[in-house]
Amino acid sequence: MSCDRRAEVVLIGLDGATFAVLDPMMRDGVMPFLRDWSAGGVRAVLGSTAHPLTPIAWTSVVTGRHPGNHGVFDFVRVTTEGSQPSYVLGTSADVRVETLWAIASRHGRRVSCLNFPCMFPPPALNGFVVPGFVPWRYLSRAVHPRDLYPRLKRLPGFDAKGLALDWDIERKALQGLPESEFEDWIRFHTDREAQWFSIAQFLMREEPCDLTAILFDGVDKLQHLCYHLLDPTLASRYTSQWAQRVRGLCLDYFRQLDRFLEAIVAAAGPGARVFMASDHGFRAAGEQIFYANVWLEQQGHFGWRDGTTIDHEGRLSLDGHAGPEAFIDWSRTVAFALTASSNAIWIRRGRNGHDGVSDEEYPRLRQQLIDGLKMLTDPATGERIVERVMTREEAFPGAAVDAAPDLTLVLRDYSFLSVLRADAVLRNRRLPYGTHHPDGIFMATGPGIRQQAELAPFSIVDITPTLLYALDLPLPSDLDGGVTTAAFEASWAEAHPVRHEQGVAAALPTEPGAASVLGTEGEQEVLRRLKALGYLD
């Protein structure tokens, strides 16, 4: 069904985009559309979450809430209750507050949401959802409404395997690929991006929405492996034929992205306000990997499971789907790093009869870990390895703080730690690697938006209120962010005062994951099972 409706607001997400890469691309003619388009609007550095990680940061972008309130702290949801800590892949049930799309839907606006994380199972929005991070076998059940999928399958070039995310491939790639596999990897993401663009183009043409949002995540994927070839301050050091060929393919990716951006902006029409944002920026990681659990073992807080192999390959985590029980001896562990992506250390609490530190011991152990991490230095240079250690209250204040990791580390080079076993706390990285940086990007153009203006940096939690404002919708009263009024012409802002919903908060009525959701009967059953298993007296 086609109609005359046009998007009022478009959000284009560029995962991991940084001006350090985009500005040279624009200057050198790789992205001419972005150069000309952005010159007609505003731009700013967009500050990410305390730990700049994709699911955490995008959820802040699309909820206007800090992680301590939206409840997403990693790709996985960690459960520390029970006999042994464990984790499960995050889903939309982990998001404790309303999203931008839900708020707009509630006000009768039609929305489309393509490739964003934490959107499966898809909420029943007034519009269309194709979640990101969904395995291809589940894709047909992942879209909303369900009858959208057969229509997508009829799009030219549609390939579910190419569109969806293969976690095994992604995990392997992020550990470092052999040179021979780089070209296929870049082409894979270039083709994958084309499929997402095709879906966006189809929906904008056939099912136009008031709010259209699409996330291109290939920027992040390419930069993890090829940042050293993309940042011009580094790229000149890599002159081999292979490096030139790989850089050329990366530039082709960005040329294609530029064409997609141009087509999306054209499809939205001159009356639309178009916003581009990233969840975090990027930079080159340093040459060394911090093996957090090795350090914790040295401090007497961690035990390796018998037979855990020593990593000699500069990996950050195990391949495959092995859980923490594959390398952690829980009988000798009270503090541990579970995932590389979180840069976090958890402390095992001795509650409900489980092993772990008592509530009385907890503050002392936590402070001991903080002090030790701050004193940890590179023996070769004397430089501190951990730039900053944040407690959960510092990193993730809010209603969901109890679900956050106990400590979140900012390493000296912003890189991710390794959870694996090594023969030293620091080991050299095998290959150049790109890592996340808190400084992302923001750009916007459209009616009422200032032209040729560079704004002061602001936070990603300001994106949702700003988009609601651009949609002329009132804001829920409990958003953490505010409208970036500096992005709008003074006369327009004056004529459009920020409105708030009366008595409406963006928090959902219940908190997913909270122990109390089991209900009395369910809790009794869990307790009965735990007792039967010997975990409770």
Binding site: R77, T79, G82, S83, S86, V88, L89, T91, S92, A93, D94, F120, P121, V134, P135, R137, Y138, S140, R141, A142, W167, D168, H321, T510, P512, G513, V517, L518, G519, T520, E521, G522, E525, V526, R529, L530, L533
Partner: protein
Amino acid sequence: MMVHANGDSHGEVLAHVIGILQEITADWDVGEISADSRLAALNLESINLVYFIAELQQKYALEQQLFNRIRAADTPLADLRVVDVVDFVREMRGARQPEREEPRHEL
């Protein structure tokens, strides 16, 4: 078969669960899926099983209860039988609706 008004009788939940599993395994032969089929026998990567549970949680308005219940059972997800999942769903549905007025019938 007694049918519950809200769609969470054993037979209805079982049919729904098998329907999902049939759809996501449709592209290859895993044989007939029955109540006694083990999830591991369906040749699904673990991420698909996680999404399967997440979908059931949404369908039956269970928030995170199904994941919590499976974890409390201390059995790897892949080792569960289809009927185990069905039982957990029904158990959690019962736990959430103590105030319901309709009489509940056992099969």
